[in-house]
């Protein structure tokens, strides 16, 4: 039996803000994800404990790719800049 083909991966840059930035201690991080991973895969990859607790900390997230809002299901591509958008506080 041949060795399994390595699963292809993509590399994205994640921008972090507010409470998420403070929690990880950085505002920007590189992340490898399986090809075809949706935007919503970023949060559990970076915050496994919070994601598995199901509390949704720090509140409902929105997602942006390339400085534009996308749905949680949007597939990511290699080189994307992805942002986790915690609840907004402008105004």
């Amino acid at each position: 039996m041949p060795a399994p083909t390595p699963r292809p991966t993509i590399r994205v840059v994640v921008r972090l803000f507010a409470s998420l930035r403070e929690r990880l201690g950085t505002d920007r991080i590189s992340l490898d994800l399986p090809e075809g991973a949706p935007a919503s895969a970023v949060f559990p990859a970076l915050f496994p404990a919070e994601a598995s607790s199901g509390t949704g900390w720090p509140g409902p997230l929105m997602y942006a790719v390339g400085h534009a809002y996308v749905t949680a299901e949007t597939p990511l591509a290699d080189g994307d800049e992805v942002a986790l958008i915690p609840p907004l506080g402008g105004g």
Binding site: R15, F17, A18, S19, R21, P58, G59, A64, H67, A68, Y69, A83, I85, P86, P87, L88, G89, G90, G91
Partner: protein, 137 residues
């Protein structure tokens, strides 16, 4: 003028930007740092933004207002950084031929801004701090 700045906001200057001899009405809105929130004392607010995307989304607020109220003019600026009580965090001015649309467009602009522009706010209390999200409109 950038949509997001670290400098103090000048409402009079922003209001002058929408002047037009065809307009009979100018409505402005200023968000101001309050000394309390939900009964808790507040000494300052720290605003941060996603700079590239905040500029883009502020531009979308402007374009949305211009599309809905074609005869009007609008200027809007948000400040980021540490703001003390009484300082202005956001300033919007809308000029239009008549007053109804000036009020409506200005109100629409601040409501949309709060719901869409990637800016975050940390409340600084006398004994701590907390990130505060806007309630849905």
């Amino acid at each position: 003028m950038p949509f997001v700045t670290r400098e103090p906001l000048d409402l009079a200057r922003i209001s002058r930007e929408v002047e037009s001899p065809a307009h009979g009405a100018v409505c402005t809105f200023a968000g101001v740092v309050r000394d309390h929130d939900s009964g808790q004392p507040v000494v300052a607010l720290e605003y941060e933004c996603y700079p590239e995307m905040a500029e883009r989304e502020m531009g979308r607020v402007r374009d949305d207002v211009l599309a809905r109220w074609p005869g009007c003019r609008i200027a809007l600026v948000h400040r980021v950084g540490r703001l003390l009580v009484g300082e202005v965090s956001v300033a919007i001015a809308v000029g239009s031929p008549h007053r109804a649309e000036a009020f409506e467009a200005c109100r629409h602009a601040i409501d949309t801004l709060k719901a869409t522009v990637p800016i975050w706010k940390k409340e600084i209390h006398p004994d701590g701090a907390a990130w505060k999200g806007n309630r849905p409109a």
